[in-house]
Symmetry: C2
């Protein structure tokens, strides 16, 4: 199957196609391969145009555009964040994205990214965990058992070999649903009655709560030596999950400092507090975890390059699966300068039929 023999046609991956694509590949394999593409792109970090996201804030939430380019492909994601949406039966976060050919400026892929963002966020977390957590980590606490939790669990299983989960959510039905959704996937799962209980014996602590506020999901006494914290939920100004004292004891790793300083847990710290960039750890320029007893923190906020990697990965799967539609998105006159002629010929055609 050829993708866009006609340049006016842009392949479109709908929500339905994305679900089928993930199932066709297999969720764990999808996460593993996606993690590989993210790692590949992080290793060539310096090739990318990087810019903080372009945000439009309102009282109810935020709409953002996240562009980046590696010089050959250009990608951007549209994503909203509206915490009050769940009360109205809507998603807090929805997203879609586009990949384009830099040489011509023509789009080559339009894709849903609500599901894809959940997958790429989990894959990114697991890649960071692979570099930062103690080798042999098997038990993960997940605090916050909403839409992102199962994806996190599967990514850490596929990429790091996590086999035991300790779940906690202020809403016990959320933990129950997470446990039920993960049935038969090979985990040993304990539902806990407090964060304190959840972190007992955990090698990795994933925090992924949703409230837009400065919360304290983890307090200082709950985090023992050697733990890796995967901090996913603190991802915009005024929204953090960790007590400042934990940050002061941790070795902190980030995606893109100019963005994380504004959006991440480290918004609680002075602007010159030392952090390590993850890409530099991956390429060996920075040391990463300093010792077995160090506390490492991946202060995840989600960066445009991860979306770029995700779109690139999805595009690579289209020819073999055929899971896309052809979208008539780009005007393609026979003679490039004759746009108005398209209108005349369309009129003629309508008259003739």
């Amino acid at each position: 199957m050829t993708i866009h023999s006609n340049l006016n046609i842009v392949p479109f991956v709908s929500v339905d196609h994305m679900l089928k694509l993930v199932l066709a590949v297999g969720t764990e394999r999808f996460l593993t391969e996606l993690a590989e593409v993210i790692e590949e792109d992080f290793r060539r970090w310096e090739q990318f145009d990087k810019t903080p996201r372009v945000a439009s804030h309102s009282e109810q939430g935020v709409i953002e555009l996240m562009p980046t380019s590696d010089g050959a492909l250009y990608g951007f994601k549209y994503v909203n964040g509206h915490p009050k949406n769940t009360r109205e039966g809507l998603q807090t976060v929805t997203a879609f994205g586009v990949l384009s050919d830099v040489d011509s400026g023509y789009p080559v892929l339009l894709s849903e990214m609500t599901i894809l963002t959940a997958l790429r966020t989990a894959a990114m977390s697991a890649v960071a965990g692979k570099y930062l957590a103690r080798p042999g980590s098997r038990t993960m606490a997940i605090i916050g058992n909403g839409a992102q939790s199962e994806f996190q669990a599967l990514a850490f299983k596929a990429i790091m070999g996590i086999s035991t989960l300790r779940l906690y959510d202020i809403d016990p039905t959320a933990s129950a649903r997470c446990a039920k959704n993960l049935e038969g996937q090979g985990f040993t799962i304990t539902i806990c009655r407090s964060s304190q209980e959840a972190v007992e014996g955990a090698d990795i602590i994933t925090t992924v709560t949703a409230d837009k506020q400065n919360a304290t999901i983890l307090s200082d006494n709950m985090v023992g030596p050697g733990v890796h914290i995967n901090g996913v939920g603190g991802d915009c100004p005024g929204k953090t999950e960790l007590h400042r004292d934990i940050l002061m004891r941790s070795e902190i790793f980030v995606e893109y400092p100019p963005q994380t300083r504004i959006e991440g847990e480290i918004q609680q710290l002075p602007a010159d507090h030392p952090v390590q960039e993850l890409w530099a750890v991956m390429t060996g320029r920075l040391p990463g975890r300093s010792s077995e007893r160090a506390i490492t923190l991946f202060d995840s906020v989600g960066f445009a390059i991860e979306d770029f990697s995700a779109l690139r990965y999805v595009r690579s799967k289209l020819a073999e699966t055929g899971l896309f539609l052809d979208l008539d998105l780009i005007a393609d006159p026979d003679e490039p300068r004759d746009l108005f002629g398209m209108l005349l010929r369309c009129e003629q055609k309508l008259k003739n039929t």
Copy 2:
């Protein structure tokens, strides 16, 4: 017909649907109504979030995102500019855009915008002409007879009563095609052998050439008193059409100064050279043309609010025409926090069939 009873469905206007929509409404009526919406939005200029476009430059061209919001709706356009594309049988400029509900962050329209941008640029020019050109203007010179020329001609006919066209292009076949495309539309058309000849007796001079360079399409001696110049082609850094001396003699009107200072004809002038904002002329805060003999210049570069207006107008036409497709763009789980459950239910459904 109801538009998106299901919030996961986003109406999509393809290139084919856009052509049919323009024809169903009628090109001149479309331009007139679109001009009214642009004027409406310019008159409430202060309600909008305004930001210069977000550009990603490469050797071959540029890809830009142009977002804006009025607090109720959010819109953005993706647009590329690749002058070398025409040599490869591609469009120099292609575009698509999205309109979203600020309250939920959910997209409510995805539309092709290559054709729509041509229409909105022409409608914008004619709105500016209505406020700036001498009353009773009937003759327009069009220098540069490429993809934008017919749209300019029809917009100035529909909105200002222009009936006589004087065409010039360095490529005579472009002028011939423009004249042929406009046959039967009620114009008196003269094809000219030089810019000098084209501007003779013109009340309005439209410059809309495409080369990415600092060119001199009009020199100072060619512009007489009372003329309105509609400068469309000078629209990015390093791309201008008018001799600096013309600018010095003109009363200059712009869309959004921070953008026009970088992209427009006035990039040739000091950053403090006086200009009037068009929205302020429309609302009577600034005087506009000072006298019958003044030379007025609309230094058009194209601003995000015009695209917002165009998307808003197209959206208003969907229910009556039905010229759109339903796109499955937004993940819509039965329970908002149960994104992973969608995957499980999809798997179950595939097993059952």
